[in-house]
Amino acid sequence: MYGLGIAKGMWVTLQHFVDTYIQDAQYLFRSHKYRSSKLLERQGPKNARGLFTVEYPFEKLPMAENLRILPFLVYNSGTGQERCTSCGICAKVCPPQCIWIVRGTDPETKRPKPEPVEFTIDATICMSCGYCAEFCPFDAIKMDQNYEMGAYDRWSDLVLTKDKLMKPDTYHYQIHPSAKEAEAANIAKSERAKNR
């Protein structure tokens, strides 16, 4: 019968239309509407029916642990010691070459010190590949999950200098909960390199 194919297609559309309203009605009076910890209940693959978009500025999905946006440097929140030893491997593996490091020198002995004086990452060039975090032997550089990086000016906001890149390890363990045990050996290695 002519027109049957269109009717069958319309039936699918109608189901989707009804689904949208059922989903909306289900979550209309729930208290967790705008809370990100409960969002996965609605978003997860098992319950995803109808419209499963989020109302972004109010609702934010919890990020996957492996998500990688931009690198940051980790320091010990207790002692204030940086993990970075300015070995330069991150700058070497960086495919678009957006990391610049200036190695520090000891003022007394005039010998190079395992600490960077300057550490600059150009966020406009960085392509978020994550190689720097993967190949850092001291677990000093890690990938951030902050995706809200709108800025008006490149030179003052997006060329990240060392003071902007330094973040405490408590923040790092908060966004990467499984990293704590895996890194213990490498942190000890970093401290040994510094105290030599």
Partner: protein
Amino acid sequence: MGIKPPERAEYIRIIMAELTRVMNHLAFCGFLTNEMGAFFTPFIYAFEERELILDLFEMASGSRMMCNYFRFGGVVRDVSDEFMSRLKYLVYERLPKKTDEMEQLITTNEIVRTRSIGVGVLKPQDAIALGAAGPLLRASGVKYDVRKADPYGIYDRFDFDVVTGKNGDVYDRYLVRIGEIRQSLKILRQCLEQMPASGEIQTGKKQYQARVPAGQAYGRVEAPKGELGFYVVSDGSPNPYRYHVRATGFINLGTLETMSVGGKIADAIITLGSIDTTMGEVDR
């Protein structure tokens, strides 16, 4: 270089590759109907499934589109248990249902059939002469799939068919892609059954600078849009001496002239949509 990835890494690679194929072909159905004037409704239905697959990519690799997940001799990191449970749900329950739904929406639709049957016909000899590959070539009736013709990875272990069309028109290209989604899901199911529950995912040490011996090599894979080939010439130094990518979109786009000469202008739009080219590949 003679590096053989461990068993588990091989299976993870196949899972990722086949999920990409499912995602691409579903989105193709959306784009094709977009081209025909069914503005964004089937497209958004396809994008819902694409979103769930991209969530999986984000969990495993850290990025949705630029996954950067494979390494020489393995993959970056192991997949989590949550990943596997979500994948099982998608492969066994959700995606087959949604493929049926997409087919119910489009396949028998009279408007789609009148617009696409007999439009943009590509004869098998023309397709071969113009170097077309992938679903475009198979829709013309040529049974050629790199996964079968030159099995790479562990594709020789899986039981799947090469889907071919008969007439080589826009409608056949759509049917071939729907068939390929089903075959991909079949491969994914076999993958999930055979995959070792745990194990190594990387052979040897991770290296950022591969020492490649001097010489040349051509590797090819069956990408969702066609045959994707990489040609490398090395002179023994860390950087390649010459590097060429056989981009599928660029070469498949060359068939557009043969298909659309003599047809209507409105049909040319659908023909272009049925090639499923990405303009990022063409701009070179």
